[in-house]
């Protein structure tokens, strides 16, 4: 049953991510992206990574996508004020797309069929174990990434300050 659910959800993920690209209206794109993120949450639950699933839910679906939607609604893009794309841009796009296709096909050809993924520790994704991993062996990278985020935050606050400090 696990594999058939996986294939269903994987199909939905790919389907909705294609819809993100093909949707004409940017707000629709964002809504499809939200659904795509939801299918990722389901993937995490299938892997028994409950904490990651719920954090993906909160951070991506609940916070980041709200901001995306917020900005797009403010801009209120539609067909009338969409900038016209010149022919050259389209040609460049086609060439770049073909290059990507060749690269992907080449790299796919080089890979062998891997063994089905077997989790080393089924309960690794639970909060307690994940916390012990993060604050044990991976302490330094974890703290460094938090400093990175803090730096970005301070930068964002500085950019919004209009008057001279």
């Amino acid at each position: 049953m696990g594999t058939s659910v996986f294939y269903l959800v994987a199909f939905l993920s790919i389907f909705f991510s294609l819809m993100v690209i093909f949707a004409k209206n940017p707000v629709h794109s964002v809504l499809y992206l939200i659904v795509t993120f939801f299918t990722f949450t389901v993937h995490y639950i299938l892997l028994n990574a409950q904490f990651l699933a719920v954090v993906n839910f909160i951070v991506y679906m609940g916070a980041i996508m709200v901001l995306f939607l917020f900005v797009l609604m403010l801009l209120n893009l539609n067909k009338d004020n969409e900038p016209l794309k010149s022919g050259l841009v389209k040609v460049v796009g086609i060439v770049a797309g073909c290059c990507l296709l060749v690269t992907l096909a080449g790299s796919l050809k080089a890979t062998a069929v891997s063994n089905p993924l077997v989790l080393q520790n089924v309960n690794l994704g639970l909060v307690k174990n994940l916390g012990k991993e993060l604050f044990g062996p991976f302490m330094l990278p974890f703290e460094l990434s938090s400093i990175l985020l803090l730096t970005a935050m301070v930068g964002a606050v500085l950019l919004t300050k209009k008057e001279k400090v």
């Binding site: 809504l31 917020f70 909060v127």
Partner: protein, 345 residues
Amino acid sequence: MDITFVIEKFVLVAVIFGISLLIAMYSTYAERKVAAFLQDRLGPDRAGPAGMFQPLADGLKMFMKEEIIPTHANKWLFMVGPGLAMLTACIGTAVIPWGSPVTIGSKVISLQVTDINVGVLYIFGVVSLSVYGVMIGGWASNNKYSLLSAIRAASQNISYEVAMGLSIIALLLVTNTLSLKEIVEQQHGWHWNVLYQPVGFILFIVCAFAETNRAPFDLPECETELIGGYHTEYSSMKLGFYLFAEYINMFVSSAVMSTLYFGGYNYPGMDYVATVAGPVIAPLIGTVVLFAKIFAFIFFFMWVRWTIPRFRYDQLMHLGWKVLMPLAIANVIITGIVIAIVEKF
């Protein structure tokens, strides 16, 4: 998975869903009665004894009204909006423990739909999703006022989620678990978390007001500035769904606050009652106590609505970012230090 388990959970889900709707329905009645009481009026008193059937009459009216979808609205999303608002309002109840397990013979029936070990985060996730109904509805209406209201709702929710998340972190430092079942079990008798986290509770309740769009934080529905708000273009039961979702949200957030900070189904002297009443009745008394706490919170929501006037938008942002957030961070740090000291000695 055996069939009795499925039936048991199905019945529980159906009962909780029914109760949420019933309480939301009678919250509209209670809101009017409380408003009338606070303003020295009578309130609704025509439909049935003391106006008891007023919510039914209102519901019937909503269903019977003409359904209008504006010509330039995005039809599909216009319909999705209210549905999403109702959905996100209802799914929060799934992880709340409504009572301690009932023992009938040898069978133990849990009064919680599911005990996931990230229950608190699940609630938080559902809260952060709740803004989508408003945003999608407001945008799809293709009305400047609705759009403004949707944008207000989004920025308000995002701002207050920060302080709410930080107040939950301080609580988790005390409880050491994310499972709502264990959090409630730790608060046995009178050891309620509000006694250990009074500041955290105040932060949480202020944020709960903001997240449910209740006065004094009801800026997305500010009639004087926005005609109606995000639901300006809505009519009939779609409008009803938006209004209804607000009351369900109020019920769910009252239940969450009772569970996290006010001991859920625990009450002082419950051990004595358990020995007298037996293993079937005692948990049900606990459930009644939980609902009493929930009703007290719902009354508090209404009381505040008729006491404190609406904030200005800059005041709202000032409170969220410059008052609540530093206070929440200080709360986390002080809680951490105190716990470290207590564990040391």
